[in-house]
Symmetry: C2
Subunit: 133 residues, 2 copies
DNA sequence: CTATTGACCTCGGGTTACACGAAGTTGTTA
DNA sequence: TAACAACTTCGTGTAACCCGAGGTCAATAG
């Protein structure tokens, strides 16, 4: 299956700008049609998923590139170990981010509840415990 | 309680660079001592917590500033409504990020397991279902 | 058969949120 | 009294895009 840049951007909830950037820096591979338009396929989609998840871990683009290059290289033991180490580290980051996200949600939920209490007149604003509301 | 820029940076797991940046753009208020050094206190710490959590929601610095300015203004109904809307929106973002984080963790956990399977010789690499490993 | 439309292209400068380093100031130890 | 540690400002650098101008190309509308 083939996709235009627009379709591909929609599929991954990103922008055409970003996709052009990724292909320009050779992070995301793509073909070109007769009119020089980028065409993406299911293989591109797989790389794209990788990019998105690694980015969610906080991995910088350069590191993602390094990892992908390792993936395309010959399959030595060293190579596998290197890739394993990257994934191991980024997985840890993912877990940290998850914890962070949980804490943030708890805080924001409380904050919102506080506002609703004020707006429904249940408590006055100066009882705000966090000093900013 | 008072804190130097170094202590404050450690408290919030950030850098002195970032704190200088925040104070320079008037996002984070701070006092100065006789030698012109920044001093932070517990009130700064409260604002800092706000900054961190709002940032975790993905809020841009300008929006955080806007929100904080509303907090310092007079307490009209309009003002409260505006702040409420900001928190409401950012809380939603926080929930989205939490979901994202969960998905990412699941993906990375699976990826890691895959590598461990390869490295312990349980399966060959070409059985990799995701096309990149 | 032109003309407009729409989706794409490249290229260069702009933006956000910092990071970094040089050069200077200040207050405390050897 | 010298050196050090911790800070200061100021200006440039960086990452990961965003944006817009100006051009190409294929398909439809008049």
């Amino acid at each position: 299956m083939n996709y235009s840049i627009k379709q591909f951007a929609e599929m991954f909830h990103t922008t055409e700008h970003t996709l052009r950037y990724y292909t320009d820096i050779d992070l995301l591979p793509c073909q070109r049609d007769s009119g020089n338009h980028r065409i993406f396929d299911d293989r591109s989609a797989n790389w794209m998923r990788g990019i998105i998840y690694l980015k969610n871990c906080g991995t910088p683009v350069k590191e993602i590139k390094r990892y992908f290059e390792l993936c395309r290289l010959e399959e030595s033991d060293e190579n596998l170990q290197a890739r394993y180490q990257i994934i191991l580290k980024q997985r840890e980051q993912a877990h940290k981010k998850l914890e962070e996200a949980r804490t943030t949600v708890a805080y924001m939920d409380e904050k919102l509840k506080h506002y609703e209490d004020i707006l429904t007149g249940r408590i006055p604003d100066d009882m705000n415990p966090a000093n900013w509301s």
